[in-house]
């Protein structure tokens, strides 16, 4: 039997895959059957009754299978009454009537029912202007009401479901999109219906209320103004808002965003970001974003943003002109050419990072550049066996496998967590290997635990076991290994929890070898929907590798004959006096506890958004633009190069990072500054081999995506934005065009000595320079906590719930202790602190509160 079904809707034939719902089939031919409760990303429930249509099934003789014909010799159909188009699957020869008088009347009837309980407060409703109920009322509703106004049920209008989401009980039409999203899509069933009949209402079941990283999405899919964010509510009218495309700057997923901006008098007539919405990219974030991506943008408009360049005069940082500041920077760098070094943050764009390395390598003839901190190695491995071009986690299903090692995706890269979880629900065999239980374990077919003292042992065993055929009784690891070996497609995510940097390098290579194994006749690596995905600590760590912001690699993974100083070397040089001038861009090594202070530096220049601890120690501070004020590109962990666009005016005199760096370059005698980021990107693409042929126009290309959201029919999938600004371009891993040798894995197990192994556990809302500035997220921030094994707790005389202070690397941290079974013996997990020590043994001592 064919997998395709042909049916006719209002006389128009359409062929769709078996299992398609009538409403979706209609959508394919541009027939927007109205819906409220139906959402293309969720199972249908058929409760709003808005999509009623008449459906006819061709009749056949029971015995012979011959079609039953009417008196005119035409096929006879069996019609039932009106049926919900969202719950009925298409079948061969089906006829659907969606434009008859009966159907039109039914739509009007349902609208009339809905409006009897709706307050019709559109003039003060946030949804007004982009409201499915409003639009469908205009299309199908009557102009007047037969319902007596005094009969209306009154409901509470400002019910906080949590810190982030408010409910207006009168506006709610009980479609259950929000509760189903929370239960079915993200498995955080923290909101639910309560009561029944007309008193049915949404309530929160969690404490704190609506405790979910996904809550904001419910406001996008709410078909009325019942759910609003505390951030946007009563902030603007939708028709005043101008959309502009962006990319989320918080994690390596690279979610596509849309800023809704408008000009405001209180901002001096400038564009202001009013809200952040997801922008559809079915290969990246579909139509979802996490609440961090939605609410943590407020640092952009923070009053403490740097406005002008600052120069230290008589010990004080004072305002200066760009000309003066740039001249001074050039002069000092010229003076210290050989002893200069650069530290950059992996939040910066590809253009910024490329220009940064070019400045050092081409103008100063010195490759002493590195990221402020490297947690995860293996960029070179990813370039070879990374997830292949054209892959989409949505395409994985039964028979495929996903391996997640050393990463808590729910905290580090929520949308990957969601997509991996959903893949597992579609039948993908999920194997999770971590030093502690994580939220992904619930969906895993196999979970393995490693001890941070010897993290690679388990993975090595897993990979080795996958190479041999097994039969008979299998233990957990063997079963997991076999599942990986037998999978049709295999995607491996890897991170760094409980691993040293050197260990993550070995981990990448071990997993590389797993992917270089043959499945049948072919090597997995390089095939679509196979490969390695690094869970980088920041949004553009991938880009930093690509453009050569690495002491050992030039642009495009060119291994350098002579490596420059790495970050540790640079920091040691600053203290020891061998590094005389330091250029810091987009990072805060002093504030992050990586660098003790300016040491013996003769010159320190910092290019930043805020006056960070490092900036406070600088000789020159250059104000940079945030990503919302400028354009550029980020490269996601799946190696998708994606464009972001300027949406608001630059703050003060700030300039784009790449621009500042290019101006310094020019002063040092380099090329003239390109006048646009697009030109710089085109230059970059020529040097960075994997980016060959890419340009801004190509990155802006879009194609039709399903489900079809946005646009006129916003009732159909919620008002996540239609993507008109680019789907990005994924670059091909080396394995796609070349056969590769297996990696040599060095047996480095870092010397971990004695004592409790302190491991930083990630938290999505961890205190940090950007998230801290979002007041809406403030009440949700993770609090410092440390969890011990019961034995260790006993040794340290710590009890569950104790507030303890501990000294780590000379820093004193205060946290709440937990003895809750999360930690293995000899490990302590530290969560929610600004300072995140790497996985090395620490002397943990309780210190008195006074000392802290």
């Amino acid at each position: 039997m064919s997998d395709q079904v042909t049916l006719s809707i209002d006389g128009v034939e359409v062929t769709v895959p078996k299992g398609t719902l009538v409403v979706d089939a209609a959508k394919r031919i541009g027939n927007d059957i109205p819906v409220f409760c139906y959402h293309p990303k969720m199972d249908p429930v058929g409760m709003c009754r808005m999509c009623l249509v008449r459906i006819g099934i061709p009749m056949f003789e029971r015995g012979t299978g011959e079609p039953v014909l009417d008196e005119d010799g035409k096929q006879k159909y069996m019609f039932r009454g009106l049926q919900t188009g969202c719950t009925v699957q298409v079948s061969e020869g089906m006829v659907v009537e969606s434009n008859t008088e009966v159907v039109e009347k039914a739509r009007g009837d349902v609208i009339e029912f809905l409006l009897t309980s709706h307050p019709l407060d559109c003039p003060i409703c946030d949804k007004g202007g982009e409201c499915p109920l409003q639009n469908l009322t205009m299309r199908h509703g009557e102009g007047t009401s037969r319902f007596d106004f005094s009969d209306k049920l009154k409901g509470d209008k400002h019910v906080p479901l949590g810190d982030l989401i408010f409910l207006d009980r009168e506006r709610c039409i009980q479609c259950a999109r929000c509760t189903r999203f929370q239960a079915e899509v993200v498995d955080d069933p923290v909101i639910a219906f309560h009561n029944r009949g007309r008193r049915l209402e949404i309530t929160t079941l969690s404490d704190p209320g609506f405790d979910s990283y996904w809550s904001g999405n419910t406001t996008d899919i709410c078909p009325v103004g019942a759910l609003t964010t505390s951030d946007f509510r009563f902030g603007a009218r939708p028709w005043e808002l101008k959309p502009s495309a962006s990319i989320c700057p918080h994690c390596p997923v690279g979610c596509n965003l849309t800023f809704s901006t408008r000009r405001e008098a209180k901002a001096g007539g400038k564009q202001v970001i009013k809200r952040v919405m997801p922008r559809q990219n079915e290969a990246v974030n579909e139509i979802w974003i996490c609440d961090k991506g939605r609410f943590a943008y407020h640092f952009v408009e923070d009053g403490e943003r740097l406005q002008t360049p600052l120069i230290r005069k008589n010990g004080e940082l004072v305002e200066a002109s760009w000309d003066e500041a740039l001249a001074l920077v050039a002069e000092k760098l010229k003076a210290h050419k050989a002893t200069a070094a650069g530290i950059a943050g992996d939040r910066l764009s590809n253009e910024d990072l490329y220009q940064f390395q070019a400045l050092f390598r081409e103008q100063l003839g010195n490759g002493n550049i590195d990221l402020a901190q490297r947690r995860l190695a293996g960029g070179d491995v990813v370039a070879q066996v990374g997830i292949a071009k054209g892959s989409n986690l949505l395409d994985l299903g039964a028979g495929d496998a996903i391996l997640v090692v050393a990463s808590d995706l729910h905290e580090e890269a929520p949308v990957w967590w969601l997509r991996v979880k959903q893949a597992a629900e579609r039948g993908v065999t999920l194997v999770v290997v971590n030093p502690r239980e994580t939220r992904l374990d619930a969906y895993a077919a196999h979970t393995l635990l490693y001890h941070p003292r010897k993290p690679l042992e388990t993975v090595k065993q897993l990979v080795d076991t996958a190479k041999v055929e097994l039969d008979g009784e299998l233990d957990g690891l063997q079963a997991a290994a076999q599942a990986l070996a037998e999978a049709n497609n295999l995607v491996a995510f890897y991170g760094y929890e409980g691993l040293s940097y050197e260990e993550t390098d070995s981990l990448a290579r071990l997993l590389g070898n797993l992917l270089l194994m043959k499945k049948g006749d072919a090597v997995r690596a390089g095939q679509k929907n196979n490969g390695l995905v690094p869970v980088w600590p920041r949004n553009n760590t991938q880009g930093a590798w690509d453009v050569g912001l690495h002491p050992a690699y030039g642009p495009g993974y060119k291994k350098l004959a002579k490596a420059g100083l790495a970050a540790e070397g640079i920091y040691a040089g600053v203290a020891g006096g061998t590094v005389k001038a330091l250029y810091v861009a987009g990072s805060d090594p002093i504030g992050d506890g990586l660098l003790a202070g300016r040491g013996n530096l003769e010159f320190l220049v910092v290019q930043e958004l805020f006056l960070t601890a490092t900036a406070q120690a600088a000789d020159v501070v250059l104000p940079a633009q945030s990503w919302a004020e400028r354009e550029g590109t980020y490269t996601s962990g799946e190696r998708r190069v994606q464009r972001f666009y300027p949406s608001i005016a630059a703050v003060g005199q700030s300039r784009a990072d790449w621009q500042i760096l290019a101006q310094v370059t020019e002063q040092l005698g380099g090329e003239k500054v390109p006048f646009a980021a697009s030109i710089l990107f085109t230059q970059l693409a020529k040097k960075v081999a994997p980016y060959k042929g890419m340009d801004y126009r190509g990155l802006a290309k879009v194609e039709k995506q399903w489900p079809d959201v946005g646009g006129d029919d916003l009732y159909y999938g919620g008002n996540a934005y239609n993507n008109g600004s680019g789907l990005g371009v994924q670059w091909a891993a080396e394995a796609e065009s070349k056969s590769l040798e297996a990696y040599k894995v060095s047996d480095v197990e870092a010397n971990k000595g004695k004592g409790i192994q302190l491991v930083s556990a990630p938290a999505l809302y961890r205190t940090g320079s950007l998230v801290d500035r979002s007041s809406v997220l403030a009440p949700r921030m993770a609090q410092p906590e440390i969890s011990f094994h019961a034995n260790d707790a006993q040794l340290l005389a710590v009890e569950d719930g104790d507030r303890i202070s501990l000294r780590v690397n000379g820093q004193v941290l205060t946290a709440t202790a937990h003895v809750n079974g999360q930690a293995q013996a000899g490990v302590a997990f530290l969560r929610g602190t600004a300072y995140q020590p790497t996985a090395v043994p620490q002397r943990i001592e309780k210190v008195s509160e006074k000392e802290a």
Partner: protein, 418 residues
Amino acid sequence: MEKHILLRHRDVENIHQLDVYLEHGGYEALKKCVTEYTPAEVIDIIKAANIRGRGGAGFPAGIKWSFIPKQAPVKYVVINADESETGTFKDRELLTFNPHQVIEGALIAAYAIGAETVYCYYRGEFMDIGYNCEQAVLDLRERGMLGDNIFGSEFSCEFHNHYGAGAYICGEETALLQSLEGNLGQPWSKPPFPAVEGLYSKPTVVNNVETLANVPPVIMNGAEWYTDMGTEKSPGVKVVCLSGHVKKPGNYEVIMGMSYRDLIYGEDYGGGMLGDRAFKAMLPSGGSGPVVTAEALDAPIAFEGLDAHGSLMGSASVIIMDETTDMVWAAMKMIEFFKHESCGKCTPCREGTFWMNKLLHRIYEGHGTAEDIKVLEDVAKQIKGKCLCALGEFAISPVLSTIAHFLDEYKAKVQVPA
């Protein structure tokens, strides 16, 4: 009737006790099934007997059982004891005084479909009755008649009792299953039918208490014995719940096909109208079926009996109203009930029952206009054919049938005094 088939406690004292039940042939049918018949043979007997669902819908139990996929590893039987239809109180009597016959029927159903677990879902108010059944289950377990290898056969089965929180909608099978799983009691849009995806998404048979009580006697006496009683389309006996303005309200076990007139006026049954007042109208199936007038009195009590009168037998909760009854008031009371019990899941029922209630109150309380009667009728028609489950579809019948038969009474209420 001399000997009851279902209300056997009226003939045999203390039949709710296991010993007494056993003395009177109890569990012989179950024993016969598990030792002599294959599951398919049991289903064939029930199919041949054409036991139609006594919850009101009349769907043949044997056919329902035959829908269960044979290969499915886990299946369930659920007893629907959420007896909530207005004026229905038959399951209550059966479970209170003759529980073993119901349990035996359920175990036979479990054997027939290959289920190893039976759940009995009681309406929340049936707590005391549930305790009663709990004792019956304990007694069975003690005798080794429940659990592993029942009667030494391969058949093993467990039995659990569960109490609802008092919602009419949970009598609807999918809402019942939702509630049984611990979710909010709301029906789902069928398909999937419970026979395919029921409790915990496993194939499930949901049968009414009375339906299952019919099973053991059918097994013992054969299908023909059963089909010899009643009408062609509605064989067997039915417990009718008679209430309202009659002299002797109560449950009566009747052979299908007896007329409503005999039920109301027969000496062994209702014994005539209360105070010998005149009959005005009758609700043959609680609030769910349209009101009928004296024209329907000679119709037979059978699933098809009221077809000609635009109504239905349903669960046979017959509510009699005499000449003193205000029909607008009656309609209002029923709509109040439906409004109160609407689960709120689908729009027409949630909003429509609320709206009809407001209109009926206005009309009844003397603030209505002729326009309100028209809107009321429109709203009822507007609900029709659009609801997710039967509750909403049934909720319109009190309105439409009283307007059809007693429009004058409505008109009188909206008359402006001259």
